[in-house]
């Protein structure tokens, strides 16, 4: 086994406990899925020597962003995949199972996968849930079970501001966006007739992700001025900015993208198009 050459420096269960809450909070803040894998050897193979060998083997197969730890009482191993979902975790398990079956024909292993996309879970609850599911399949071999209780991301409040001078079209956009169903997000829509009234409202002063749909030409504080002010803010990246324009010009579009818009939409446009763009933008936030 090539991994024998690498020395194992595996964390213990209680050490990981300290970081787990931080990792869960990071899942919410960064919209990145985290997945925990638990592996157990079948009874009769739990020798200290094999355990060490397995630790080295697993460590060698992981990426630098993955965290391997040993469960208490030599019960097995846990791996936390930061930035990976259930599909990648399952592929990893299938890959190592294939290698282990060939190299250790006498060995049998079971595994469980828990995809985590919310912060409603404690480390103890994670351990208990996986212990229970693994004990149920302790008589079987090379089985992968899945816990799906923590897959649903919490519904996140997102602000949407529509800044458009024409009151009738502003109403059209407001109604259309209010009726939009975006999975995992609830939209708080507000509208303004110009950049100045938006700026005065102070609605942009919050930590929420904020979608801004703004016309390029406005009576007071136009779209480009607003864009510049928002992008200059220390947390300017929380703004997703769509700029609408009647000017069908490549030069204007280029200028807009270079100044930091995320979408440049030429009027007249299809309402379904802007709805699809919004859905796609939010779908990308929770990959």
């Amino acid at each position: 086994m090539e991994a024998r050459m690498i020395s194992a420096n595996v964390m213990q269960q209680k050490e990981v406990q300290k970081y787990f809450t931080v990792m869960c909070e990071s899942v919410i803040r960064s919209h990145l899925t985290m997945t925990a894998i638990f592996l157990t050897l079948s009874e009769g193979y739990k020798t200290e020597e094999l355990a060490k060998e397995m630790s080295v083997f697993l460590q060698a197969k992981l990426r630098k962003t993955d965290l391997l730890f040993q469960l208490d009482n030599n019960a097995g191993w846990g791996i936390i995949f930061l930035q990976s979902g259930e599909v990648e975790a399952r592929a990893f398990l299938n890959r190592i199972f294939d290698i282990l079956k060939k190299e250790y024909p006498q060995l049998t292993i079971n595994a469980s996968i828990t995809e985590i996309r919310n912060n409603n879970i404690t480390f103890d609850a994670l351990i208990t849930a996986n212990e229970q599911i693994l004990s149920k399949i302790s008589n079987e071999a090379w089985v992968i079970e899945e816990i799906t209780d923590y897959q649903q991301p919490p519904t996140e409040l997102v602000k949407v501001s529509i800044i458009e001078e024409n009151d009738i079209f502003r109403h059209v956009l407001e109604v259309a966006i209010n009726q939009l169903e975006v999975p995992h997000f609830s939209l708080e829509v507000s509208s303004y007739e110009d950049g100045y009234s938006f700026w005065q409202s102070g609605n942009y002063q919050s930590a929420h992700t904020h979608l801004i749909i703004v016309n390029d030409i406005l009576p007071r504080k136009n779209g480009f001025e607003l864009l510049h002010s928002l992008r200059m803010m220390p947390n300017g990246n929380k703004f997703i900015i769509y700029m609408m324009s009647e000017r069908n010009s490549e030069a204007v579009a280029l200028n807009a993208y270079e100044s930091g818009v995320d979408e440049f939409i030429i009027k007249p446009f299809n309402l379904r198009l802007i709805e699809a763009k919004i859905k796609r933008t939010f779908a990308r936030l929770w990959p």
Binding site: D167, I168, F169, V175, A176, P268, F269
Partner: protein, 349 residues
């Protein structure tokens, strides 16, 4: 010389002037109230029915009879709503619904407006007929055209025909008596479908210069590959202006399928022609065009030299080619220009 006036005469004059002033003030107050009432009725309609119109136009629900406008203020409100949708949203279904509604419920208002003695009211009606594509008014427009109408109204009629009855538009374009500017023709042509515009282009030599120039410029703006061969044919024209505009159009379209057509222009006596060729070569591989660009970078005209250098440097191997040129060329002006272009490119990175 002193003018002698009796006190009583003076008082009479003051009284008459005061009376006139009073009348004038009264007129202004009445007009102001009338306008205020009109605006309130218009705004009340918009306020009350914006939701109904949204449901009808976007969500496909039935339209209630209450939205049918009964007076000019309500018509203005409906116009505001329709124009807000048409200018901001592009949905063929919405356009159709607006057209159908206007054909039934707004038509009569516009027939009346076309009879108005006021030019602005007639013009406004013509604009709305074009915006809402009210095709049930074609006969009325036919008789309207026979009246003594202004140049602007005739232009607006042209616009309506181009949208609603292209065959008639082509007929009218052939027999147009009024001279419009190039930009006015461009505004008309840009609205035409590719099919109708192609028919206009086919008749290129039937029209006067303003129309010809507008045709070339519109073809460039439309950026359609269909027009490449037609523009190339114009390169053989005797008129220098047409030749240069056709080259500019080909540059705007930005597709060079072969370079043979352009090679004779490299040695043209007119620097504007050589400049356009240097621009067009940007869209062809440098391996094909380098020989000609090398000639153009040594041109006597600064614009041509500078453009040739810019075109070369746009290519992946452009810097390399210019460096080779610097080493081998004798023309000191061209060498300096090449060095400057390389420096500018590297500085910009």
């Amino acid at each position: 010389m002193m003018i002698e006036l009796k006190i009583s005469t003076l008082l009479w004059i003051i009284a008459v002037l005061l009376f006139m002033l009073l009348l004038f003030l009264l007129y202004i107050i009445i007009q102001h109230n009338k306008e205020g009432r009109f605006n309130r009725r218009r705004d009340a309609y918009v306020e009350a029915y914006t939701g109904d119109w949204y449901d009808f136009l976007i969500r496909d629900t039935d339209l209630s009879a209450s939205v049918i406008p009964h007076n000019k203020a309500q018509v203005t409100a409906v116009e505001r709503i329709f124009l807000s949708y048409l200018k901001n949203l592009q949905h063929p279904e919405i356009e159709k619904k607006i057209q159908d509604f206007a054909n039934v419920y707004l038509k009569d208002f516009y027939i009346e407006d076309l009879k108005s003695r006021l030019w602005s009211i007639r013009m406004n009606a013509l604009y709305r007929i074009a915006d809402f594509k009210i095709n049930s008014l074609m006969d009325n427009l036919e008789s309207f055209e026979k009246r003594n109408i202004s140049k602007e109204e005739y232009f607006q009629l042209f616009k309506i025909y181009s949208v609603l009855q292209p065959s008639k538009f082509l007929e009218k374009l052939d027999e147009v008596q009024i001279t419009y500017s190039e930009s006015e023709y461009r505004r008309l042509f840009i609205l035409l479908s590719d099919n109708i515009f192609t028919q206009v282009f086919d008749n290129f030599y039937h029209y006067d210069k303003n129309i010809q120039f507008a045709i070339i410029d519109t073809a460039a703006v439309k950026r359609n590959m269909l027009f490449i061969s037609k523009l190339k044919e114009l390169l053989a024209d005797d008129s220098l202006e047409i030749k240069i505009r056709a080259l500019k159009g080909l540059y705007e379209i930005g597709i060079v399928d072969e370079i043979e057509t352009y090679i004779p222009f490299v040695s043209s006596e007119v620097w504007e022609v050589r400049l356009m060729v240097a621009k067009i070569f940007r869209y062809a591989p440098l391996s094909y065009t380098y020989t000609y660009l090398e000639q153009l970078i040594q041109d006597e005209n600064w614009w041509v030299r500078s453009q040739a250098a810019k075109t070369i440097i746009e290519d992946r191997h452009g810097v390399e080619m210019l460096q080779q040129f610097i080493v081998s060329a004798d023309d000191q002006f061209a060498v300096e220009l090449a060095q400057e272009t390389i420096m500018r490119r590297q500085g910009g990175k």
